[in-house]
């Protein structure tokens, strides 16, 4: 660091003594005692029941946490039972609850709640319903499709007037596409269930209103759905005042709790509930609940008033903010209301007569409270809905408001001078940005004589022209607010560091803080953008930072692909992690970056964080280094205090992981300051290069004009007209998205290579490929292009090349680990070895392009069931965004190599649907004939049924095609017709021949205008056998989709089911499934799973009709190939259960294949195949393909943190569970051995 004192982006450094102001709250937040992190054990004795203990008893903690944790804190402590199931973005609420229960955290009555994971949200709702009926205080957490699955039970729970609260991180629902992001489509789908709907707009509100919801539900007997915006609120980190357990005790009336219990089912005072009613009484019964709904709004307001008396924050059913004499009013609920609030503050300060009415209680909707809250001066109203109801007159809130006003005027209760103009608008679907700039535009619209109705804002609708255009440069950001943006890679710890930064500033100063984190759609090499605000005033900015006074770029490579300085304010600070020092960095920046730095007069700092981190023993994790630099330059805290705070934070975060980790982080902190340098910015642009194009110029038009924008982070600019109308996208587009994320790539030693094909097989990203081709083809090969003589006798006169795609490789290293060919003079040197990528990048790009241009070997010449031959089959699944070293994708790739040109894929929601179908680009691709897998994702729970439906359709259309062929045989020609109808398609040549026949058929039918001929043309392709694949993970197959899977296995549908078993819900972050092994730690099984893994193979084999294979590529790649071939050949349902290593197992994925082998050797994952066809031949259908366990289970499992962390945290329990798990392995092996030895001779 230079000697010069760092400049501060904070205007007033004395933040510690600054008074805080709460603009909208009735009371200021008192200074708290030292903040506590969440999850501390509540050892307090409960206050006497009925005692309003705690009223003003102690100052409340100020805590820095996200919306999910804020809500879970309340829900957990006022509940006895939580029935849970993971779904983004609500999963962390269940996870926190489970973690607290596992360490014995007690609720306000001094008992530890039961937290139970179910098999689906439908199951969770059912269990909740049962728990409530039996008298418990119950809760659950969910989002999106999960909430939709709860709807049937929600009707029941509400119909029976049962107190409970479902907390919902509101999220988009799957329509033309799935989206994990926030809007109100899910919540609005429940508004008819009878649940009360209560909306929170911020993290603080989410905690507060969670408590109000529980209290009001007990009193009103109406169940509540408390919701807050997914991600924007659920994942926003904010400093809030934490409700104490005393607050909760004071809010929850124990007499009401006892009353709830008294209504429970009990054989000691039996009743019957859930009768069937006939036309004579059902209607009346439905109306009987009315008084409760009439009373509910007042009960909620009373609870809010009581809350204000206890805590000091006053809420209302409808909260008005703005000018007392407002003429133009926006009505809105959720986090968007805060952006409107901010804009209203800005506009009223300028004398504008505007206001915002925030709706909190949406159901039961109180017309009376609404009319009271609306300013009498209102002339125009815009009702904003964060949802979409195609075909409706307007979205639900709009319709409610119009109806409420109409009723008000009709009844003469509305105090407005005249019926206002009311328009509805849609905004913010799937977390689309909603900013004050848009708000200002809407207020402008309201001033018009005829404001546009049913408008949209935030998009460009050039099809039905609903959108309002707006000035996106308009900003209401306060200059007093520190706005910092950080660009990082998922793996570099940037987000984690920023979360720590927020905690430090939140806990060590009086500043308000806000952190929001944006991730791209890839699981490996993902770009993260952190948006941090620090302010002396409460922060209402529920939108991303677009004008920053600090920009940190934590990866130098981003400079050539992202415009990281776009949001930088003039005079702001730019911190860059750079391998180049202050004197050399300038010429290594692209021209556009140089221009921005000069034009905006940025203060520019560099540090070689990678080197500092490496020297401190931290490997590639630069989080601590960059965090220290931020504090050093930003001046948010005095430097010494900042360093002390960072170290304190390190101890808190990493202390329990051991001294060594803490020491290394400390060393990184100390070294950071010494290596931070200010760059003397030259006056002129001098660089010889600029930003690289996002996609190459030769990419297809759709990729360039649509997907390219998404890749560049400019997807918001894509107009409606450019979007497919029905969610249909081209395949084969990942090839255009060169992510260039590998630091090292495999390099082939052709002299050593035995051409076994193992590296090609295990590559999760299809970036290492082999071809055998005519030597004449390489006449124009680029210099250095490697070739070898093929090690196949039949191809001896051809050439062989193994080639790597340098910009698609993720550098996982699995290929090198699996390579069996070692040098005879240097054992560490294999036939492929990892080498630094940058020097190879350009050269290998040329090689790769050239390699792709070489012809594919005819599929007919290859033995598809052999590993060695399979490497020469073209993969039709490539460059997915799966985790580096993913254990699932190699199986999918193999499937596409073998059957991809005739495959239909039904994919359950989960990892495989995300890396398989998440935009911007898609990994399923086509061969040069244009054939490849056709892929679709229906839902999480219905995938087996979805795939079976595909099979039925294929079979039916084939049957119809055959009927037409028979009918038209004379026209077609008897020979061709007979050939088409009697084709043997069991082999690859058979398929090819049938394709030729179909081609001939089409030629014959061309121009024939008869209905039969045209029908036959439409279904002719179905005459070629199709391979239907049903793909999903264990969360689907073992849990939520098991009912459907079971049904399909029991059917005779010729489908192939690939169950990618990672033994946890990987996609949502590692929650326990019924596949999770005994003794493994997972979320929802934080103390280690106590029950054995479900033996789904045994269940499937019991039907006796399904082909079942239990495979692990690392255990036997040959058996894997056999299983795929046999599964496809079996004319009936086939189930392949594939061991898939996963980062959720807690070890470096480079060892994934080795661990697969250990799983097999230990007996945890026996290899076997069950082929029903063999029984008919008098043979045992069950064949064990692996040997008896040869290593103890612990030799396998203790390589993985999911097991070892239990040894570290609870050694005795771990020992016990290991013992049981070993017994299970032994018993299971005995059973399988017995099965394999059975005679089936007839």
């Amino acid at each position: 660091m230079t000697d010069r004192a760092p400049s501060s982006i904070w205007e007033t450094t004395d933040v510690k003594t600054t008074e805080t102001e709460e603009a909208n709250s009735a009371a200021s937040i008192e200074d708290a005692n030292e903040s506590q992190s969440r999850g501390g054990i509540n050892t307090e004795e409960p206050a006497p029941i009925g005692d309003e203990a705690g009223k003003g008893k102690a100052a409340r903690n100020k805590v820095t946490l996200d919306g999910n944790e804020a809500v879970a804190h309340v829900a957990y402590h006022v509940s006895e039972v939580a029935a849970i199931y993971p779904i983004t973005p609500s999963s962390p609420m269940g996870e926190s609850s489970d973690a607290w229960a596992s360490i014995g955290e007690k609720n306000i009555w001094g008992t530890v709640p039961k937290v139970v994971e179910m098999q689906s949200e439908g199951g969770a709702a059912g269990a909740l319903h049962g728990a409530l009926q039996a008298g418990a205080l119950g809760t659950t957490f969910t989002s999106s499709q999960g909430l939709l699955l709860m709807i049937p039970n929600m009707y029941k729970i509400a119909g029976e007037l049962t107190s409970t609260v479902i907390h919902v991180a509101a999220r988009a629902v799957a329509a033309q596409a799935l989206s994990i992001f926030g809007d109100h489509q899910d919540v609005m789908a429940t508004r008819q269930t009878g649940f009360a709907l209560l909306s929170s707009n911020s993290v603080q509100e989410a905690m507060d209103l969670a408590l109000v919801a529980h209290a009001a539900s007990l009193e009103s007997r109406i169940p509540f759905l408390h919701f807050f915006d997914g991600f924007r609120t659920s994942h926003e980190v904010s400093k809030i005042e934490e409700l104490s357990l005393d607050d909760m005790r004071a809010m929850i009336d124990d007499d009401l709790v006892r009353a709830h219990r008294s209504r429970a089912l009990s054989p000691d005072h039996p009743v019957l509930r859930g009768s069937a009613q006939n036309p004579d009484v059902y209607f009346q019964g439905r109306e009987a609940v009315n008084p409760y709904y009439i009373a509910c709004p007042t009960i909620v307001q009373n609870a809010m008033d009581k809350f204000a008396a206890i805590v000091g924050r006053q809420y209302h059913l409808f909260e008005y903010v703005g000018a007392a004499d407002a003429e133009n009013v926006i009505i809105i609920m959720g986090s968007g209301a805060e952006a409107v609030h901010e804009a209203v503050d800005y506009m009223t300060a300028q004398g504008k007569k505007v206001g915002v009415l925030k709706v909190r209680l949406v159901r039961p909707f109180s017309v009376e409270h609404f009319l009271d809250a609306l300013p009498k001066t209102t002339k125009s109203i815009a009702v904003l809905d964060r949802t979409k109801e195609p075909g409706s007159i307007g979205e639900p809130l709009y319709q409610d408001i119009v109806t409420a006003l109409t009723e008000g005027f009709t009844a003469g209760k509305c105090k407005l001078a005249a019926f206002p103009k009311v328009v509805g608008g849609r905004y913010g679907l799937s977390s689309k940005e909603f900013t004050p700039a848009m708000v200002v535009r809407i207020y402008d619209e309201l001033t018009k004589a005829t404001p546009q109705n049913h408008f949209t804002i935030g998009i460009v609708d050039d099809v039905t022209h609903t959108s309002l255009d707006y000035d996106s440069t308009f900003s209401t950001e306060s200059p007093d607010t520190v706005r910092a943006m950080f660009f990082g890679l998922g793996a570099d710890g940037t987000v984690g560091a920023n979360k720590n930064t927020i905690k430090i500033i939140g806990e060590d100063t009086n500043l308000f803080v806000q952190g929001y984190f944006v991730y791209d759609s890839k699981k490996s090499g993902s770009v993260t953008t952190s948006h941090l605000r620090f302010s002396k005033k409460p922060i209402h900015s529920t939108y991303l930072i677009s004008s920053a006074n600090f920009v940190g770029c934590h990866q130098f490579s981003f400079m050539e692909r992202l415009d990281v300085l776009r949001a930088a304010d003039p005079g702001s600070v730019f911190l860059l992690n750079s391998p180049f020092g202050p004197d050399d960095v300038w010429d290594n920046l692209p021209r556009s970056a140089q221009k921005t730095i000069i034009d905006k007069k940025l203060k520019f700092y560099v540090i070689d964080a990678v080197e500092v981190a490496r020297a401190a023993g931290m490997g590639g994790r630069i989080n601590t280094v960059m965090q220290t630099c931020f504090f050093a330059i930003s001046g948010v805290l005095p430097r010494d205090e900042a360093v002390a705070s960072i170290k304190h934070s390190i101890e808190k975060t990493y202390g329990k992981r051991g001294e060594s980790v803490v020491r290394k982080n400390f060393a990184a902190v100390d070294a950071s300051l010494e290596n931070l340098h200010e760059v003397k910015v030259p006056a002129a642009i001098s660089s010889k290069f600029d930003l690289r194009p996002t996609v190459p110029a030769n990419a297809p038009e759709f990729v360039r004009s649509v997907e390219g924008l998404m890749i560049a982070g400019d997807g918001d600019l894509i107009p409606v007209s450019a979007m497919p109308i029905d969610g249909t996208f081209p395949t084969g587009t990942t090839q255009w998205e060169k992510r260039n994320i590998a630091l090292e790539i495999p390099v082939w030693d052709e002299a050593l290579c035995i051409q076994c094909g193992k590296c090609v097989m295990v590559c999760p990203h299809a970036v290492i490929r082999a071809k055998v081709y005519d030597p004449a083809a390489i006449n124009h090969a680029p210099e250095g292009f490697q070739t070898a003589a093929p090690k196949w006798r039949e191809f001896s006169d051809l050439k062989y090349t193994l080639q790597v795609a340098p910009e698609d490789c993720t550098g996982c290293g699995l290929c090198v680990e699996v390579c069996p060919a070692k040098s005879k003079s240097e054992a560490k040197h294999r036939a492929i070895n990892m080498e630094a990528q940058p020097p190879l990048r350009e050269k290998y790009n040329d090689y790769w392009s050239y390699f792709l241009s070489l012809p594919e070997l005819s599929r007919e010449k290859l033995a598809h069931g052999q590993v060695k031959d399979a490497q020469l089959l073209e993969p039709l699944f490539e460059f997915s965004g799966a985790c580096s070293g993913c254990g699932e994708t190699p199986y999918i790739k193999v499937m596409t190599q073998m059957f991809g040109d005739r495959a239909l894929i039904a994919n359950a929601t989960g990892c495989s649907s995300i890396y398989g179908g998440n935009l911007p680009t898609t990994p399923y691709t086509k061969n040069k004939e244009g054939r490849g897998p056709a892929w679709s994702n229906s839902l999480f729970e219905d995938n087996a049924e979805f795939g079976m439906g595909m099979r039925i359709a294929v079979d039916k259309q084939k049957e119809y095609a055959e009927e037409l062929v028979k009918r038209m045989a004379s026209l077609i020609g008897e020979e061709l017709a007979t050939g088409l109808l009697s084709a043997d398609q069991s082999t690859e040549p058979g398929i090819f021949t049938q394709r030729d026949r179909v081609k001939a058929l089409k030629e014959k039918l061309a121009g024939n205008k008869t209905a039969a001929a045209r029908d036959l043309l439409a279904v002719a392709d179905e005459l070629v056998n199709k391979s239907v694949w049903i793909i999903g993970g264990d969360g689907w197959g073992y849990d939520i989709g098991f009912g459907g899977l079971d049904h399909v296995l029991a059917s005779d549908a010729n489908v192939n089911i690939l169950l990618l078993d990672t033994e946890v819900y990987s996609n949502t972050g590692g929650q326990m499934s019924k596949s999770t092994p005994l003794g493994a730690v997972a979320k929802f099984a934080a103390g280690g799973k106590r029950t054995p893994k479900k033996d789904i193979a045994m269940m499937a084999m019991n039907y006796g009709r399904a082909y079942v294979a239990h495979i692990a590529m690392g255990g036997s790649d040959g058996q894997t190939m056999k299983a795929f071939a046999e599964a496809e050949a079996h004319n009936g349902p086939s189930l392949i259960i594939a061991y898939s290593h996963c980062i959720a197992h807690g070890y470096d994925m480079v060892h994934g294949i080795e661990q697969q082998k250990n799983a097999v050797l230990s007996g945890h994952w026996p290899l076997f195949r069950y082929n029903p066809g063999l029984a008919k031949e008098g043979k045992n259908p069950f064949q064990l393909d692996s040997r008896a366990p040869s290593i103890p289970l612990e030799k396998y499992i203790y390589n993985e943190a999911r097991y070892t962390m239990l040894v570290s945290s609870d050694p005795e329990e771990a020992k016990l569970l290991l013992h049981q798990a070993q017994d299970n392995v032994n018993e299971r092996w005995k059973l399988y051995q017995h099965m394999a030895a059975m005679s089936f001779e007839k």
Binding site: G39, I41, T88, P89, P92, E95, D98, A99, S102, I103, I180, F181, H235, L489, G490, A491, G493, T494, V495, G496, K499, F517, V518, Y519, K523, S524, S526, T528, K656, R657, G658, E659, S660, V661, K664, K822, A827, C883, I914, S1066, N1067, T1068, G1069, G1070, V1081, A1082, K1083, A1086, I1143, A1144, G1146, Y1147, D1148, A1201, R1202, T1204, M1205, S1208, S1209, P1211
Partner: protein, 341 residues
């Protein structure tokens, strides 16, 4: 009455059979069995600072793997409220062992950093360890480091630990020192109360099929005792320090030989792993029987009786031993293997 008592590191022991550092002492239940079998002291398994660091870093790496990379899964494993990472488990075991058995407990430490050696040594003392065995030997692979520098480094380390704790400290050595007697003297001067000769290294094996070097644990064999006897006999009377022999002590005669060579105690592990913990009793009764038969009254009486200074022909311990052996070897003699040198 045969007197088997001995003194080691200032600890009065009921007999010279001490259990050496091994996985046997990882489990608390084994301490009682070892005591009941007759062990006079127990050296606990070694606490490896390097291993502790690796555990800590592996846990950290696993917890961070994939975190905050993707919106749906910001973490993949639940974080526990606490972990027994670091020396806690070891320290706890010392504490529990001291409460469980009344035989002296000697903690064993293999450090990796100067701070680590003294920090963990202090923890061990505080937990109640009766003595400390420093497992100092690292494989010297750097050709730029001289033997003198290495030896100096070891002595500095002993000095630092000596300063940090009050309990007796012994040093477990490897056999690969050019001037063993001199080095032991240096260690003694640095504050070591005793030396344990010699550490056995788990030399990895070569897997010719996979072309991999694989860790391979081989139990000691009785012939390994010879090297220890040899050096104990040389060190006895030349250095004022306690001597423990470890490696190749399998039966009662091995213990007797160790005593006669000059050792204060003989340490066992391999034989216990092979024959069971109760084998200690067999060894002790074997000693008593032999001593009775040969009219020895005490271990003290025999200690060092066959050391370099007390043997009639000391050249047996010197170069002559080698020459004589070669000369006495007859090719083809029944029961003898062909020499391989």
């Amino acid at each position: 009455m045969i007197d088997l008592t001995t003194n080691y590191l200032g600890l009065k022991l009921k007999n010279p059979v001490v259990v050496s550092a091994s996985p046997l002492t990882e489990k608390l239940e084994n301490f009682e069995r070892l005591r009941d079998a007759g062990a006079s002291a127990i050296v606990m398994y070694s606490l490896f600072e390097e291993q502790i660091e690796a555990e800590s870093e592996n846990l950290d790496a696993a917890m961070e793997l994939g975190t905050n990379s993707y919106a749906e899964a910001t973490t993949y494993l639940p974080d526990m409220p606490k972990y027994q990472i670091g020396p806690d488990r070891y320290i706890d075991l010392i504490y529990k062992a001291k409460k469980t058995v009344d035989v002296p407990i000697i903690a064993s430490l293999n450090g990796n950093s100067r701070g680590g050696w003294t920090r963990y040594a202090e923890h061990m003392e505080q937990a109640g360890a009766d003595a400390l065995e420093l497992n100092i030997f690292n494989i010297p692979t750097d050709p730029s480091v001289t033997a003198e520098q290495l030896e100096h480094g070891y002595c500095e380390l002993v000095r630092a630990v000596r300063k940090a704790v009050k309990i007796p400290v012994s040093v477990k050595l490897g056999p690969y020192f050019t001037s063993m007697a001199n080095f032991v003297k240096q260690l003694s001067a640095a504050g070591a109360d005793g030396v344990v000769i010699f550490n056995r290294f788990y030399q990895p094996d070569f897997d010719l099929e996979e072309l991999e070097v694989t860790p391979n644990l081989v139990l000691s064999s009785p012939h390994e005792l010879r090297l220890r006897l040899h050096w104990a006999a040389i060190l006895y009377h030349q250095v004022e320090t306690y001597i423990a022999i470890t490696g190749g002590v399998h039966d009662s005669t091995d213990v007797l030989k160790s005593m006669m060579a000059g050792a204060h105690v003989a340490m066992m592990t391999s034989a216990l792993l092979k024959y069971g913990i109760e084998h200690i009793g067999v060894v002790l009764s074997g000693m008593e029987r032999w001593m009775e038969e040969h009219e020895y009254q005490s271990v003290k009486q025999m200690r060092g009786s066959m050391s370099l200074v007390n043997i009639e022909n000391p050249t047996a311990f010197l170069r002559g031993n080698y020459l004589k052996m070669l000369g006495s070897y007859k090719f083809g003699e029944a029961g003898s293997a062909l020499p391989t040198y």
